[in-house]
């Protein structure tokens, strides 16, 4: 089974599901950012897997994967900065206590 495209896709599906679950279920903002990273990497894995197994995509896939890595890094930076700012203000990393912005 290893060496086939399907196994990579299944792995990345599992990773994405774990990330999504983490994002929805965890209350800690840091954990949620980590979950987002997990989902992004799951997607990246898919892209790279397609690049390796589908001949016409081989050149493009690595470029897109690099782009996703760069975006993920930027997203993590900005996300962490926001979380830090809110943490200083609110003294808590738990997102369900941030709902004053509701109104």
């Amino acid at each position: 089974m290893s060496g086939s495209l399907d196994s990579y896709l299944i792995l990345s599906g599992i990773l994405f599901a774990i990330g999504a679950f983490g994002f929805l279920a965890r209350r800690n903002a840091i954990s949620m950012l980590m979950s987002i990273e997990l989902m992004l990497n799951a997607v990246n894995l898919t892209i790279v897997a397609f690049g390796a197994f589908v001949e016409p995509l081989s050149g493009h896939a690595s470029v897109i994967a690099l782009l996703v890595v760069a975006v993920a890094a930027a997203e993590a930076t900005v996300g962490l900065a926001i979380v830090l700012a809110i943490y200083r203000n609110r003294r808590t990393p738990l997102v369900d206590e941030y709902h004053e912005m509701q109104q």
């Binding site: 999504a20 994002f23 929805l24 949620m32 997102v95 369900d96 941030y98 709902h99 004053e100 912005m101």
Partner: protein, 653 residues
């Protein structure tokens, strides 16, 4: 010469502006500007009228006008600011400016103690401007503007003592009733525009035969609606008697001598229109003569001195409309002029009486005043004889011409009713004289002590008005049917008479005309004698003395038929009650129903949409929790749903 026409208008307008703006600062001399403005306007108008009536250039036979500027320049719709004066205008100019001037002089004395004098005089000046604009206008829209402005002034002056509830309500009534007629007038102007595409009066008259006959009838009827409202004809006559709540000079000027004549003027001015619609002429005659007898019958039993005169005015205006309707155009304008003078005189006299009696208006509480206010008594007697139609005073000539005109043009029913009305007029006028001046004083003893003749500023105008009231008929109406007034007005009405196929029959003093005049005059004489026998206590006539009044009046009014007639007349034939029932009660119900529909159905729908939106917002607000995971769950569920849909499509394929 035509450049003097705008000057006639500008003077009172300037007087109005100055008095209105500065009057409050100089309450004691506020009347001066107004008085001199009107005097100057009178002088200019006299010059113009003399020029027109003598046929001087540029007026000639058919008058001349001046276009000041284009009032409403719109593509395909032009209204010129144009004035025009011919001999009909000149007759009105004489009446309006001379009575206006005398009323202004009289008001100086009459309103001497009123703190709102400046307001009064500025309104009077505005009225003079509006009335002169109405008379001089050469454009239906301009005429309508003047028409509405006199209505406004009438409203302002009836309600001059606005703290008094009855005055405020009378003003409102006059305004509202007039609106009914003005609606018709406005529609008439629109109909003329629709048919001929012009708002210029002379243009419309010249091309009026191009209009289809049904439209001719409609236009004439609509214009007549306006005249009915302004001149207080049945069924819109109810406002004029109530208008007597205003100060007496106002009653004399606006509600007797000038403004109420605007309807007569309108019909006379539009004689080409009415001449083309002969069916409407019959309506005019019928409404006129019916109003004449209706108002005269009400005047029999009124006890307020001004109300008697008010109903008398309505009745005489009815006469004028009857004259217009039977085609006796000149007679109508002749009666308008003579009536303007003697009715103005009568009103000013009644004002002097009221002034003398300390604001007492009820004739039952007067009596015996003739020795104590002789100047007022004598001038009022002249007025009463003039309106009663005793030769050779003014009323005789004009009334006789109306009656003989009706007879000769074949309207025997108009003649018959008019004949009766002539007798009724004489009777109620001498009832008024008897109750007011003759017999023993029934005045409140407190007021009785203060009875005094009015100052010269009031008696002066009375004497000046008594002269035309006595001599105007002889002056311009003699010889009958070919006097000055006929020569003046012949060019104005000639085309209409020619189109109708009528021509002025020769006057036969020892024929039909003499006989008609004799019959009418004898009826008038009998009526005066009866009134004297009933009400003229203590005044010897031909060596006879009438005995005590109450027993005789009582014995006559004891008959049941007389009593029911009396009650009807005293209740003004219940017109106010009918109007109250029809328009206030039933109309009020209808309005309440419409209001309910508006409130419940229309407002309900609008408010319902609002409430539903707000409620939906309140509910949907819950969705926005502010928790990022809830949103993320939504995104994830949406993603799943999209994925499921995609898979489903893929499987089905």
């Amino acid at each position: 010469m035509t450049s003097l026409l705008p000057l006639i208008l500008i003077l009172p307008l300037a007087g109005f502006a100055l008095t209105g703006l500065l009057g409050r600062r100089f309450p004691h001399s506020a009347h001066n500007i107004a008085l001199w403005a009107v005097a100057a306007s009178w002088a200019v108008a006299s010059v113009v009228a003399a020029a027109i009536l003598s046929g001087a250039e540029p007026f000639g036979e058919h008058g001349a006008g001046i276009t000041l500027w284009t009032w409403i320049p719109a593509a395909g719709f032009n209204a010129e600011m144009a004035l025009y004066a011919d001999s009909l205008t000149a007759c009105l100019l004489i009446v309006v400016t001379s009575i206006g001037l005398l009323v202004h002089i009289y008001s100086v004395g009459y309103m001497a103690h009123d703190p709102g004098r400046w307001r009064f005089f500025s309104y009077l000046n505005l009225f003079m401007f509006s009335m002169l604009l109405l008379v001089l206008a050469d454009n239906f829209l301009l005429l309508f503007a003047g028409w509405e402005l006199v209505g406004l002034c009438s409203y302002l002056l009836i309600g001059f003592w606005y703290p008094r509830r009855s005055a405020a309500e009378a003003a409102k009534k006059a305004f509202l009733v007039n609106r009914v007629g003005d609606m018709g007038f406005a529609l008439g102007i629109m109909a003329i525009w629709f048919q001929l595409g012009t708002s210029s009066m002379r243009d419309a008259f010249a091309r009026f035969d191009q209009v289809p006959h049904e439209w001719q009838i409609a236009i004439a009827l609509l214009l007549f609606c306006g005249a009915v409202g302004k001149s207080a004809q049945f069924p819109l006559h109810v406002w004029l008697p109530d208008a007597m709540e205003g100060p007496t000079p106002v009653s004399a000027l606006i509600h007797a001598a000038t403004m109420v004549n605007a309807g007569v003027y309108l019909v006379a001015r539009c004689s080409p229109i009415f001449g083309a619609a002969s069916e409407v002429m019959v309506v005019v005659a019928a409404i006129g003569i019916f109003t004449a007898i209706l108002a005269a019958s009400i005047a029999f039993t009124q006890n307020d001195i001004k109300r008697v005169l008010a109903y008398s005015t309505v009745s005489q205006l009815g006469y004028m409309f009857a004259a217009l309707g039977v085609g006796a155009w000149t007679a109508a304008i002749f009666h308008l002029m003579s009536h303007g003078f003697f009715k103005g005189l009568l009103f000013l006299c009644s004002g002097s009486v009221i002034h003398a009696c300390g604001d007492e208006q009820d004739m039952r509480h007067m009596g015996g005043l003739w020795r104590r206010i002789p100047a007022t008594y004598l001038t009022m007697l002249v007025g009463a004889i003039a309106i009663a139609g005793v030769p050779p005073l003014a009323g005789f000539f004009s009334k006789d011409e109306i009656l003989s005109g009706a007879y000769k043009n074949g309207f025997y029913w108009v003649w018959g009713i008019g004949f009766v009305v002539a007798g009724m007029t004489a009777f109620y006028m001498f009832r008024l004289m008897g109750l007011t001046f003759w017999g023993r004083s029934r005045l409140d003893p407190e007021k009785d002590r203060h009875v005094h003749e009015s100052p010269l500023s009031m008696t002066g105008p009375l004497i000046l008005l008594a002269i035309p009231a006595a001599l105007l008929g002889l002056g311009i109406g003699w010889p009958p049917e070919s006097g000055w007034v006929h020569q003046w007005l012949a060019p104005v009405f000639e085309p209409t008479l020619a189109a109708a196929g009528q021509h002025e029959a020769a006057y036969e003093l020892f024929g039909l005309d003499g006989a008609l005049a004799l019959v009418t005059t004898s009826l008038v004489a009998v009526a005066i004698l009866v009134a004297w026998r009933l009400f003229g206590v203590d005044i010897p006539v031909l060596g006879l003395r009438a005995e005590g009044r109450p027993e005789r009046v009582r014995s006559i009014s004891a008959a049941p038929i007389m009593r029911s007639l009396y009650r009807g007349s005293a209740a003004k034939w219940w017109f106010d009650d009918i109007n109250d029932f029809l328009f206030v009660r039933l109309g009020g119900r209808l309005a309440a129903g419409v209001f309910w529909f508006d409130r419940v159905v229309i407002d309900g729908a609008v408010n319902g949409i609002g409430t539903a939106t707000a409620a939906a917002g309140l509910r949907l607000r819950r969705v926005q929790t502010g928790r990022v995971q809830n949103y993320a769950l939504g995104i994830a569920l949406g993603l799943l749903a999209m994925m499921a849909g995609y898979l489903l499509i893929a499987v089905v394929r």
